[in-house]
């Protein structure tokens, strides 16, 4: 972005400044973490609305059809609005791409993430998770008609695609252990900014398989069964749930109450069947707030 001839001395200079900026940014965010007053219920009520962050390219959880939100969360948002109305406030939806979503919620731009976020150890340091609404066991996807891939041992040495910074990547060690038990090692792992790119690369042969959570895999195979086929599970159990900042325990309690209500009146099971193709009656009923608790629930020894 520079006209030639003016900025020859830039790189060194610029790098030092960039480093300073990064330090300033880090110091700033640490300060923010220490000092910010999180919007817990009192502030939500004062403001009059709860702001929830949703996504736009995460079928079937949150996606856009012809410019309008669609999916599991779009339907559930109606219920959340009704629930919140009884408590005296409104719910406002904001649509964000995943890349900036968790950071925006933890920095206080929004009160909670209303999307299919997977529970991980790292996320549990910053967020509590509401009681999960879907299983997120990880499965692999291959090209339809690729008969060379079947069990875990057949995946050894093959090139895998995953989303960078994802829960899937965080639980890759489990697959590595499974492969070690089968007497072999994992091949190249390529990280993508989002799944559509990974699927495109799987289709054109740059990848051998892609790992994603059960529901996403089911949705993919439903839409593009001509190109992709579902493989077997490559991790222990996992959970999709709503992250709520650790600083808002009252909000977590309220959302837990909301989950209890829709679980008891059958709405949750109905929406699960509608969007995910199956209900998940055995999901934990309590919020997930600690790493140990998560490991125990997911059966990770």
């Amino acid at each position: 972005m520079t006209p030639p001839g003016i900025t020859t001395a830039m790189p060194i200079h610029g790098f030092a400044l960039l480093r300073k900026l990064v330090f300033a940014g880090l110091a700033g965010s640490l300060m923010a973490a220490a000092a910010s007053v999180q919007a817990d219920i009192a502030e939500v009520k004062e403001r009059g609305y709860l702001s929830v962050a949703t996504e736009d390219d995460y079928a079937p959880f949150n996606y856009i059809v012809d410019g309008k939100p669609e999916g599991f969360h779009k339907d559930l948002l109606e219920d959340l609005k009704a629930y919140a109305k009884d408590k005296g406030f409104d719910v406002r939806q904001e649509i964000l791409p995943w890349t900036g979503l968790l950071a925006s919620v933890s920095s206080g731009q929004y009160d909670m993430a209303f999307t299919g976020a997977l529970v991980t150890d790292d996320r549990l340091r910053v967020f509590n998770f509401a009681p999960p609404f879907a299983s997120a066991q990880h499965f692999y996807v291959k090209r339809a008609g690729d008969h060379s891939l079947s069990d875990i041992a057949s995946l050894c040495g093959k090139t895998a695609g995953l989303q960078a910074g994802s829960a899937l990547l965080a639980r890759l060690p489990e697959l590595k252990r499974m492969m070690a038990d089968a007497g072999c090692e994992i091949g190249n792992v390529v990280e993508y900014q989002s799944y559509p790119e990974a699927y495109a690369d799987l289709a054109n042969g740059r990848l051998d398989y892609v790992i994603n959570a059960l529901i996403s895999v089911n949705d993919l195979v439903k839409t593009r069964g001509d190109t992709f086929a579902k493989g077997i599970a490559v991790s222990g159990d996992g959970f999709a749930a709503w992250p709520i900042p650790k600083k808002s325990p009252e909000l977590l309690e309220l959302i837990t109450g909301f989950m209890n209500q829709i679980r008891d009146n059958g709405r949750l099971a109905a929406l699960q069947t509608k969007w995910f193709g199956e209900a998940f009656p055995s999901m934990p009923k309590e919020p997930i707030t600690a790493v140990d608790q998560f490991h125990k629930l997911a059966g990770m020894e």
Partner: protein, 213 residues
């Protein structure tokens, strides 16, 4: 790719266009202001502007957009996404434009100034009637270049949830699991936008040349 998808892409193109347009308008004028202030060599202010120019040029757009949007609530500012995006794009492009304007300043011939002052022109009249028009024509290619860079860099604002042209392609591909058609369509629309920009530059240059004769 149906008609609806094209409509969404056009909507995204409009978002890209108006946000970049506002940022460019701010950037070109603020860049001129900063270049003028820097040429005035006011102590302290000059160092401050040098620091700003270096910082803004060294920061990736995505980082800047995220930083502005995420740090706003920390300072108690209620900044909506569009303002955050315009602010970030403008902060970025202003720094580059300031350098383009400054280069035009530095390369301006002293003789013309001496001649103008000898004819009895005041500094203000000289700047308005002689220096600025020439600076404009000599900076135009650089400025338009920077404008096209800004438009092509604008997908960075999608990170805070603005649905620009590139983001629309993600939304469409997320449902169809077939990213190529919307990406090609978006590339076409970007080419049209930049093509129009270059055409405008050609027209402006022609006009300026006629005036200079």
């Amino acid at each position: 790719m149906n008609g609806q998808a094209w409509l969404l892409l056009l909507e995204g193109a409009w978002t890209t266009l108006w946000i970049s347009g506002v940022a460019i308008a701010i950037g070109v004028s603020a860049g001129l202001g900063i270049a003028l202030l820097r040429m005035a060599r006011i102590p302290f202010l000059e160092q401050l502007l040098v620091l700003y120019t270096s910082l803004a040029r060294a920061t990736p757009l995505v980082t800047l957009v995220l930083f502005i949007f995420l740090s706003a609530p920390m300072f108690g500012i209620n900044l909506d996404r569009n303002s955050a995006a315009i602010l970030a794009l403008a902060l970025n492009t202003t720094a580059f434009n300031a350098e383009i304007w400054r280069a035009a300043f530095i390369s301006f011939s002293r003789e013309q100034k001496e001649a103008a002052l000898a004819c009895g022109m005041t500094e203000g009249v000289f700047f308005r009637r002689i220096m600025l028009p020439q600076m404009l024509t000599s900076s135009l290619p650089g400025l338009v270049n920077e404008m096209s860079f800004l438009i092509k860099g604008s997908p960075a604002i999608a990170i805070i949830g603005i649905v620009d042209l590139t983001r629309v392609t993600n939304r469409i591909a997320a449902v169809t699991y077939d990213p190529l058609p919307p990406i090609i369509a978006a590339a076409l629309l970007y080419m049209v936008i930049i093509g129009v920009l270059l055409k405008l530059q050609a027209i402006a240059e022609k006009k300026a040349n006629r005036l200079a004769m």
